[in-house]
Amino acid sequence: MTEATLSDYEKRLLDDFQKEFPLHPRPFAVIAERLGVDEDTVLDLLCELQERGLISRVGAVVEPHRVGYSTLAAMRVPQEMLEAVGRFVASHPEVNHCYEREHGLNLWFVVAASSRRKVAEVLADIEYRTGLPVLDLPLEEAFRLDLGFPLTWE
């Protein structure tokens, strides 16, 4: 993994606008003013960061459970099945995060769909097709919801 090299403007852009994007007809001009550069510079930087894959997008982040329903699920998958089960789980369009983790419960994923019933159907399908139990760990209370975190630079 090579460390991403970033200019000071890029760092400030990434740091300052994770939480709050200006709802203004010319949002990039507002950002530019705050950074003390011009609008074109900001747009060029963002395009470049996006091309390098350092930002995934500039857009809306939807609140879970406000539109539809989601849960975190975990499975204990025998090592020799992990590749196939991981691919199968990730292939569901309702699965939007899927991680292999170093733990007995080694496959973790988030299932999101239009309703609680639809989420339950996806979990049941995964249990049925893999023959493995799925732990269902729905959110019960949110103390912090993906608000980004301060990036530190060396």
Partner: protein
């Protein structure tokens, strides 16, 4: 709470990312056949109603070098988990913090806190701070490291199937 069809259309049109042009909301508006003012007003209302959590620049932390992702989990007294969870959630290095159910005996942990770092030692260095907040209300903890990302797309609204809108 439900979103009206125009809200859904708007969320779908913006969640994949705003176009990087001088007037991105106007570009979205033209695609939808709306006015720029309506796009901005509806987005503002969605944020106020907390249906949209934020409109933001979403960095790819992994590509930025935050390759260690530790899901820190704790078994915390039920009577105190809400109060303590709020405190853990306000620690600056915690990106997500949730209460979830235990599933005994397989899963004894009810508090989840996600900590990202450039390497594992950076994440582990944060753990004592969380444990100090939890004190004697915490009866066990673990850190689950991610080994591999098999899929990561963020929550997305999908195109409607027939007249049904679907969230996935």
């Amino acid at each position: 709470m439900s979103l009206d069809p125009r809200d859904l259309e708007l969320v779908r049109a913006t969640q994949e990312g705003l176009p990087l042009v001088e007037r991105p909301f106007l570009a979205v508006a033209s695609r939808l056949g709306w006015s720029e003012a309506e796009v901005l007003a509806r987005l503002r209302a969605l944020l106020e109603r907390r249906a949209v959590r934020r409109i933001a620049l979403v960095p790819d932390h992994f590509r930025l070098g935050y390759v260690a992702n530790g899901m820190c989990v704790f078994d915390v007294d039920d009577a105190r988990v809400s109060e303590l969870g709020r405190q853990v959630g306000s620690l600056p290095f915690v990106s997500h913090c949730y209460r979830r159910p235990r599933v005994l005996p397989e899963w004894p942990y009810n508090l989840f806190a996600m900590v990202h770092g450039r390497d594992r030692s950076e994440v582990l260095a944060r753990l004592p701070e969380i444990l100090a907040v939890l004190g004697d209300a915490c009866h066990g903890h673990d850190v689950l490291w991610s080994r591999r990302i098999l899929k990561k797309t963020g929550l997305r609204l999908r195109e409607p199937r027939g007249s049904q809108s679907c969230f996935a």
